[in-house]
């Protein structure tokens, strides 16, 4: 096993997580380099989303260690958690836009409150980010006036407004109609091209193959196989991965 010369931006060692008596994560070791794009695939119930949600503290793990940019995750320390979440952003399957705020205000809320920026700065930043995701003209629109794909792109802009070092994407296209998936994936691809560190749980295999540096196949709470996409797709080693790949190539 090659020992990394310098620690990755996300370092996970021996991570275990139980829900009651059910052990969902049975010991995860993962080191993510800065600028790396990692796609996490696997059957439902394999623990993919749980792992992702541990990284920004939405789930509390029971054993092991997790650190982001050298800072270990301290669940009890609310201030430390907030600092962590300024460096780690998340996009959700259900978008979770704030329905009572306009699109622009959705993007501006966190920088205004948390980074305590000035109004003109946040407005300018929000407009720039919305343009980046292709929704400049929707600044004053309400979330319920947008399509699913548009809402998800706003969610991406909202997360980017905090200038995170790492972006977590939890099945961000699974709730979208097929024809709207492309517009979201294009934005994610451009983020990857710009060097954003991305961890994505996804079912979009072609996208994962195209964009990711490493693929993580999870099965029954463990990382079963890990490696470049060509290696996992082209030469799966374990029967579980072989079965998984054949089941999705239907």
């Amino acid at each position: 096993m090659v020992v990394e010369a310098s620690p990755g931006i996300v370092e996970i060692k021996g991570l275990k997580k139980r829900f009651g008596t059910n052990e969902v994560l049975k010991g995860i070791d993962l080191s993510v380099k800065r600028g790396e794009v990692i796609a996490i695939i696997g059957k439902s119930g394999s623990g993919k989303s749980t792992l992702l949600r541990c990284i920004n503290g939405l789930e509390v793990f029971n054993e092991g260690s997790l650190s982001v940019d050298g800072n270990p995750l301290l669940h009890g320390d609310a201030k430390a958690m907030r600092t962590l979440r300024q460096h780690v952003g998340m996009i959700f399957q259900g978008f979770n836009l704030f329905p009572h705020l306009s699109v622009g205000r959705n993007v501006m809320l966190a920088p205004t409150l948390v980074k305590k920026r000035h109004a003109d700065q946040t407005v300018a930043q929000a407009k720039k980010l919305l343009e980046r995701v292709g929704l400049a003209e929707k600044f004053d629109a309400q979330p319920d006036q947008l399509s699913g794909g548009q809402q998800q792109r706003v969610a991406i802009a909202r997360a980017l407004a905090m200038e995170p070092a790492v972006l977590l994407c939890d099945e961000i296209t699974s709730a979208l109609d097929p024809e709207l998936v492309g517009e979201v994936l294009r934005v994610v691809e451009s983020l990857a091209d710009e060097g954003m560190t991305l961890l994505m749980v996804t079912h979009e295999m072609n996208f994962a193959r195209k964009v990711s540096d490493r693929l993580v196949f999870m099965h029954a709470g463990r990382i079963h196989e890990i490696g470049p996409p060509e290696q996992l797709f082209g030469a799966p080693q374990t029967p579980e991965l072989k079965q998984f790949l054949s089941s999705i190539h239907a």
């Binding site: 979440r85 979770n96 836009l97 409150l113 948390v114």
Partner: protein, 216 residues
């Protein structure tokens, strides 16, 4: 025997209704403030708050308002803590209202989806910021119809202050009945006056509810 006209009866009842309105407002506002404090204690996960507030709500929702008022006025007096009828009624109704409102509002906060908590947490908002900018506004929208509706319950609850002798609308109705020997007319008037107070508020609450669901 003096013959009282309906107008005489009405006039006296109207004067008494002032106290009903005043007591209702005090209980509603006071109960709202206490209820809000209890709710925030629960949300902020203050130690023991969940159990204590839960028990508090169980107590006031599981016992008659009549007994609560009896206890405050007669019960405390019997152990050497005499309080006036007005104070007993005000305190009793305030605590009663706070228990119901905190429970109603708890339901409204629970109605805001978990995704909103997660998204705002993921954006590094503190609990106070989450409540003020994301959860609060959404819970408030849902809370307005039932809160307005509960005001009707408070107004009806003030009628029980009559049993500890406080001269609000119901007690005054009883006194006028004794003076005029026209119980049917008097109590019909009393009922109509409560109706006049409560029905518009009930109707308003219903229309707020309709507007809320239309907006979705």
């Amino acid at each position: 025997m003096v013959d009282f006209s309906i107008w005489d009866i009405f006039r006296n009842l109207l004067l008494a209704a002032r106290w009903t309105v005043l007591l209702s407002l005090i209980a509603f506002v006071g109960g709202g403030l206490v209820g809000l404090a209890l709710l925030i204690a629960r949300i902020a996960k203050v130690r023991g708050a969940d159990t204590l507030v839960g028990g508090y709500v169980q107590l006031f929702q599981g016992t008659p308002l009549l007994m609560q008022l009896f206890f405050l006025f007669f019960g405390l007096a019997s152990i050497g803590i005499p309080i006036s009828q007005w104070t007993a009624a005000a305190i009793g109704l305030t605590l009663y209202t706070s228990a119901f409102l905190t429970e109603i509002w708890r339901g409204c906060v629970a109605a805001v989806g978990k995704g909103q908590w997660e998204a705002s947490a993921a954006l590094a908002l503190s609990l106070r910021e989450q409540l003020r900018y994301v959860i609060g506004p959404q819970a408030l929208r849902v809370a307005v119809p039932p809160t307005v509706g509960f005001l009707v319950q408070v107004i009806k609850g003030t009628a029980l202050a009559s049993v500890i002798g406080f001269a609000e609308l119901t007690k005054t109705g009883g006194m006028i009945t004794n003076a005029t020997f026209r119980p049917f007319t008097v109590y019909a008037c009393v009922a109509l006056m409560y109706f006049a107070l409560c029905f518009p508020i009930s109707a308003w609450s219903k229309s707020l509810e309709r507007k809320l669901h239309r907006g979705r």
